[in-house]
C-alpha cells in the first residue's frame, strides 16, 4: 500500500510538472510537445528499476516504444478530428483512445508478448 501511494505521489508530481511547463510556453504547437513528455515513464521506470531491477525496467521501456508509436497516431487522429470534423477536444481526445488501445495491444500481441 505504501509503495502504491508513493507511486501515486511521484507520478502525480511528474505529470503536474510537465503540464505546468506546457501551460507557460508559447506557441501552442510547441507547448503541445509537453503533452507527450515522458512524465509517467520517468516516474515508473525510476521506481521499477529500484524495486524490481534494471532488466525488468528495460522490458517495460521496450513496450513503451510500442505505446509511444500508438500515442503518435492517436495524437495525429485527435488533431484531425478537431480540425476537419470539428469535434470538441474532449470528444476527440476520448474517442481516439480506442485507436491507442487497438494499436498498442496489436503491437504487443504481434511483437512483444
Amino acid at each position: 500500500m505504501t509503495e502504491l501511494l508513493f507511486r501515486f505521489l511521484i507520478g502525480g508530481m511528474a505529470v503536474s510538472f510537465f503540464s505546468a511547463l506546457g501551460d507557460v510556453l508559447k506557441p501552442k504547437s510547441f507547448a503541445g510537445l509537453f503533452g507527450a513528455a515522458p512524465s509517467v515513464g520517468l516516474a515508473t521506470l525510476a521506481l521499477t528499476a529500484s524495486s524490481d531491477g534494471r532488466t525488468y525496467a528495460s522490458m517495460e521501456a521496450r513496450s513503451m516504444v510500442a505505446g509511444a508509436g500508438a500515442f503518435l497516431l492517436y495524437a495525429c487522429l485527435s488533431s484531425r478530428l478537431m480540425m476537419q470534423f470539428e469535434w470538441s477536444a474532449a470528444k476527440a481526445g476520448i474517442t481516439a483512445l480506442i485507436v491507442w488501445f487497438a494499436i498498442s495491444l496489436s503491437l504487443w500481441l504481434a511483437l512483444l508478448r
Binding site: G11, A36, A37, M64, F71, A75
Partner: protein
C-alpha cells in the same frame, strides 16, 4: 516562430484543474505498476505511453482559449478548438520524442547507471521533439 515563456498563464489554471492533472498522473502511474505486477512488464510498459493526461489537457486549452475570446467580446469562435488541435499536433511530435526516450532507456538500462540512463533518455526526448517541431515550422517544409 519564436518560443516564449508566459508565467502569468499559471494563474489562469484553476486549482481544481491542477488537482485533476495530479490525480490523472498519479492514477496512471499506479495502474502501469499494477498491470506490470499482474500481467508482466511487457504489457505494463505500454501504459508508460498512455495518453492519460492528454484529453484533459486539450480540453483545458480549448476552454481557456474560448474564455479569452469571450472576454474580448467574441462569442462564436472556432479558436478554442483550433488551439486544442494545435496542442494535439504538438503532442504527436512529442510522441515521436517519447518513442526515442523508450528506445534509449530500453537499450541502455541493463548495463548503465539508472540516473544517467533516465537523463540520457530525457535529453533524447527533448532534442528529437524540438528538432521535429523546428523542421515542421521551417519554410522549407512542404
Amino acid at each position: 516562430m519564436r518560443v516564449s515563456l508566459n508565467l502569468s498563464a499559471l494563474r489562469k489554471t484553476k486549482w481544481y484543474e491542477y488537482v485533476v492533472r495530479f490525480i490523472f498522473g498519479g492514477t496512471i502511474t499506479v495502474l502501469a505498476g499494477v498491470i506490470a505486477k499482474q500481467y508482466g512488464p511487457t504489457l505494463g510498459g505500454l501504459f508508460l505511453a498512455f495518453p492519460a493526461i492528454f484529453p484533459a489537457g486539450a480540453t483545458l486549452v480549448e476552454k481557456h482559449e474560448r474564455e479569452r475570446k469571450r472576454k474580448a467580446g467574441i462569442r462564436q469562435t472556432k479558436r478554442g478548438r483550433q488551439a486544442a488541435a494545435l496542442d494535439a499536433y504538438g503532442a504527436a511530435l512529442g510522441a515521436a520524442g517519447l518513442l526515442c526516450f523508450g528506445l534509449v532507456v530500453w537499450q541502455l538500462m541493463p548495463a548503465h547507471n539508472l540516473v544517467l540512463v533516465l537523463a540520457t533518455g530525457t535529453t533524447a526526448w527533448t532534442i528529437v521533439s524540438i528538432l521535429l517541431w523546428r523542421v515542421r515550422k521551417s519554410p522549407w517544409w512542404f
